[in-house]
Symmetry: C2
Subunit: 209 residues, 2 copies
């Protein structure tokens, strides 16, 4: 099993590393996909939006067929939607993938690769209108939206919830529980400043206590 | 202002990148520390426990005095507590720091640098007994424990909560709220398999709904 994580300049760090931690924990301790690969167009280091510099493990031209592919978001997606090499890579791999996942504005890359048309999906709250404006996506203001084999999530840290929900679906509730316990993901319910009731907040936030 | 993030082989990815995302968002959008540095003993790439390879931004010998220092955990801490160069670096920087923070088993590095003796602290649930066995730390089974300028947190993903609580303390509730909203950190309350009631679970988990 090959689980790919697409990386590109100006991606948002936590969009990538939240799911990476969950999926890698799955592969290490609960028989998840043995090959987890950070995949880039070129072999040079990828500098993320907040400055972290990471080294790809494989480049597009040497990447094996993937069973799963996750696309993080971040400012870089605004450039990468116009990167034909990257979009072609995603569309090509999608032929083999059992599931494709995006975090935050990674949804726009899936869309450009022709994978979101006619489907339900979500993205970071600040980009929901932009996703609606594409015209062929039914935007759903939930934390995680699944439509067939396409899973999209809300912004940045929502990728952790996405990855756990995905593992629960593929490998069962007990496996997801082991990973949640191992990564000690029982987050605080604390809200600072009550912004989940902000007018721009997505529906799922407004409904949460 | 200089905010340092200690990096070393076999650190746990999310221990580092959870707080990194929060603190970098603070510096970028809410006037937090302008210099956020990933700091390593050597200039070569650092391979984390789950395989992510990151490039340090500064090495110990060229590191400016830090206002804040965060130490992630992970399997690598078991080696690094015996790395005299690293421990000396942490102890030396601690002379200038306004605050020192650890995530997960990063607490053992703070301890070896002489920074936890006589204090209240926490770590990953699976290492709580090991922290107690050190003999001079009062172990508190909370998600975040602050004792003066030393902040420790529970395992892996608890570092996100730690970083937000820290920002709220230093820069106020409104700033923490902006970061929480921007990084869309309104996590699901979902528990898979109910393991937060496991006999090994720390007190804070058992008390959460």
């Amino acid at each position: 099993m090959n689980f790919g994580f697409l990386i590109f300049p100006d991606l948002e760090e936590l969009d990538l590393v939240g799911p990476w931690e969950i999926i890698r924990y799955w592969s290490r301790f609960a028989q998840g996909p043995e090959n987890c690969l950070m995949i880039s167009e070129k072999s040079e280091p990828v500098v993320c939006n907040k400055g972290m510099s990471i080294n790809p493990q494989v480049i597009f031209s040497e990447c094996p067929p993937l069973d799963y592919l996750l696309v993080p978001g971040g400012q870089g997606t605004r450039q990468e939607v116009d990167n034909e090499v990257l979009i072609r890579f995603v569309a090509g791999q999608a032929q083999y993938c059992r599931a494709l996942l995006s975090v935050c504005t990674g949804a726009f890359i899936l869309h450009r690769a022709g994978l979101l048309s006619g489907l339900r999906a979500t993205t970071h709250w600040a980009s929901l209108d932009r996703l609606r404006d594409l015209g062929d996506v039914t935007v759903v203001e939930e934390r995680i939206v699944r439509d067939g084999r396409i899973w999209t999530s809300a912004g940045v840290s929502a990728g952790i919830d996405l990855a756990l929900a995905f593992v629960a679906d593929v490998a069962g509730e007990e496996t997801a529980g082991r990973i949640q316990f191992g990564t000690e993901y029982y987050p605080s319910h604390r809200s600072y400043g009550g912004l989940q009731k902000h007018e721009k907040a997505p529906q799922y936030m407004k409904e949460q206590d």
